[in-house]
């Protein structure tokens, strides 16, 4: 299996006023294609920073990060945006759907951004069917439950066939029942489409569906890695 994500000695330091705050202190990590990986750790351990670096939303202070063969480290903002558009899908804790668009509209927007305007209704319907959202296509987010909104967010993240899905606390705002449904969807996508997923989470149940779990503390990966 080839490594889709290669992170080498990643460091990230935030400048807060006159103080330097290190968020990552030399993280090295590889994520293989088709892997469902959980990253756990207490608040402030650097999980989100690492996710944002993987997604090209941040640039590291030092170190190197390669996504599906493309080096994000030295890339310009425009290049990182391009890589993110083509290769990365995001799922957020707060769903982050566009409230003025329907479920299908949110997916269509992702397609428009990805394909520069092109439309793929078959792919959309396939994803919505897989995530059991066929009868919710024309509903706006406010008309959906939390679990349904997160499934729409997941559908939006995968409709463009990204190389990797980065999920930031995807069950953080859900009750246990909806959490279980959403986690099952992550597993389905990983199993049926070999979708590579990196999920950061506090939730042991969320981590338990993943094949590999990484623990982080104080900006480093704590040994040993725990396999699911």
């Amino acid at each position: 299996m080839r490594a889709l994500v290669k992170a080498e000695n990643l460091e990230k330091v935030y400048r807060v006023g006159k103080v330097d705050v290190p968020a990552l202190r030399g993280v090295s990590l590889e994520v293989e294609e088709g892997e469902l990986l959980a990253v756990m750790g207490p608040s402030g351990c650097g999980k989100s920073t690492m996710l944002h670096l993987m997604g090209g939303l941040l640039t590291p202070t030092s170190g190197r990060i390669v996504i599906d063969g493309e080096d994000l480290t030295a890339a310009s903002d425009a290049k990182r945006t391009d890589i993110r558009r083509r290769k990365i899908g995001f799922v957020f804790q707060r769903f982050n759907l566009f409230p003025t668009l329907t479920a299908e509209g949110n997916l269509r927007l992702a397609e428009r951004i990805h394909h520069n305007g092109a439309d793929d209704p078959d792919r959309r319907r396939e994803i919505l069917r897989l995530l059991r959202l066929e009868d919710k296509m024309h509903h706006k987010p406010l008309e959906l439950s939390g679990g349904e909104q997160q499934r729409v967010a997941l559908a939006r993240a995968v409709v463009t066939r990204p190389a990797i899905v980065l999920a930031d606390e995807p069950t953080g705002n859900l009750d246990s029942e909806n959490s279980a449904i959403v986690l099952k969807m992550f597993q389905e996508l990983n199993y049926r489409f070999n979708q590579t997923i990196v999920m950061i989470t506090h939730n042991p149940e969320a981590a338990s569906v993943c094949r590999r779990i990484i623990q982080m503390r104080d900006g480093v990966i704590v040994e040993p890695h725990v396999g699911a």
């Binding site: 903002d77 425009a78 945006t81 993110r84 566009f98 509209g105 951004i113």
Partner: protein, 364 residues
């Protein structure tokens, strides 16, 4: 249409309406002021073109835009008739008076009706020529505004004048009294404002004018085409005023759209962060915001045009001001509305495109 642009406009109806109104205001201002200037100018020219005399003989400074002097002796009439090339000459008193319609003032002429009508090809379509000191004739446009034959006009300090006839075509002032009546009212006996001179051969008017100037020096000899000219020539600063107005309208539209888009961006910071996380480029984000601004501007254009045409028609019917909306000015107003909106949205759009995606995603 499940479009981010349309759905955002619909989600904030009051702000969208205010933005549309701001653009519409700029468009309406341009359309109405230019329409009014064109309407008045063309109307004045139309009436002036029916004055068939080629030459005006007067004292220097007698005729200004809104005032006249009655200081020319009528003895010049006979002197002018004797000059080679002159077919006829007739005196006219031109006076401005306050009126409740239009701009608040109107023109009034005192003429020897038979000579004046024969010289300028005017005829009475109803009634008869004025004879008594308290009689007047009006043109058809004036007659339609509740001044038919038999009605009373209040002129020259609220004095009543009975309308005894209606003439056609429109020529010079809309209301004409007898020359004697005007001389009495203005206490200027044997005086007039100017004398209209008809040439035997219109092609010789320049030569005739030179002869008049040579034989009757110290007076002003002009061609009627120069005197009764368009408002733009009479008020050269009008064009400058219109251009300044156009610029102001563009600035108003741009500022309104800028403010609306800036507020929109601030409210939608997290949405912009989501777009960036989804891989939307800076160009895409700028494009979305500009599209929204252009849709609002286009709506403002339509509202502005409709309002300008409606308001123009209403004002024309109520106050008698003439509006004439030109294609070129309509295009200018349209371009201003769209360009103002596009330019106004540019700064907020660039700001949005340069937001830090992580900070934007954390924005409440």
């Amino acid at each position: 249409m499940d479009s981010l642009v349309v759905s955002n406009i619909r989600q904030r109806p009051l702000r969208s309406a205010i933005s549309v109104a701001g653009v519409a205001l700029g468009v309406t201002l341009v359309m109405m002021f230019t329409g009014l200037a064109r309407g008045l100018s063309n109307e004045l020219q139309h009436r002036s073109s029916n004055v068939r005399a080629e030459i005006i003989f007067t004292r220097p400074g007698s005729i200004e835009l809104t005032s006249t002097a009655t200081n020319l002796s009528t003895k010049y009439v006979e002197l002018l008739k004797k000059i080679d090339g002159v077919a006829d000459a007739t005196p006219v008193i031109l006076h401005f008076y306050q009126d409740n319609s239009g701009f608040g003032f109107e023109q009034l002429e005192g003429v020897n009706w038979n000579e004046f009508a024969a010289m300028n090809g005017i005829s009475l379509v109803e009634g008869r020529a004025p004879q008594a000191l308290d009689e007047a004739v009006v043109d058809e446009t004036k007659a339609k505004k509740k001044h038919p034959v038999g009605s009373t006009l209040k002129l020259l300090g609220d004095k009543p004048y009975r309308v005894v006839g209606i003439f056609r075509p429109e020529s010079g002032s809309r209301v004409k009294l007898t020359l004697e009546s005007m001389q009495n009212a203005l206490e200027a006996s044997d005086k007039c404002t100017y004398i209209l001179v008809k040439c035997k051969n219109p092609a010789d008017q320049i030569a005739v004018a030179k002869r008049i100037d040579a034989e009757l020096p110290g007076n002003k000899v002009q061609f009627t085409s120069d005197v009764f000219t368009s408002i733009e020539k009479t008020v050269p600063s009008l064009q400058i005023f219109l251009r300044v107005l156009v610029v102001l309208a563009a600035v108003v539209s741009a500022l309104v759209v800028m403010l609306a888009m800036y507020t929109t961006i601030t409210e939608r910071t997290r949405e912009i962060g989501i777009l960036k996380a989804m891989g939307a480029s800076r160009g895409y984000i700028v494009g979305e915001i500009e599209r929204e601004a252009l849709v609002i501007s286009a709506m403002g254009l339509i509202v502005g045009f409709v309002f300008a045409i409606g308001a123009g028609a209403l004002i024309q019917r109520t106050y008698g001001l003439f509006f004439e909306f030109g294609g070129l000015w309509a295009l200018t107003a349209g371009a201003i509305g769209l360009a103002g909106g596009a330019v106004g949205a540019l700064y907020p759009a660039m700001r949005a495109a340069n937001l830090d995606p992580v900070e934007a995603l954390l924005h409440e």
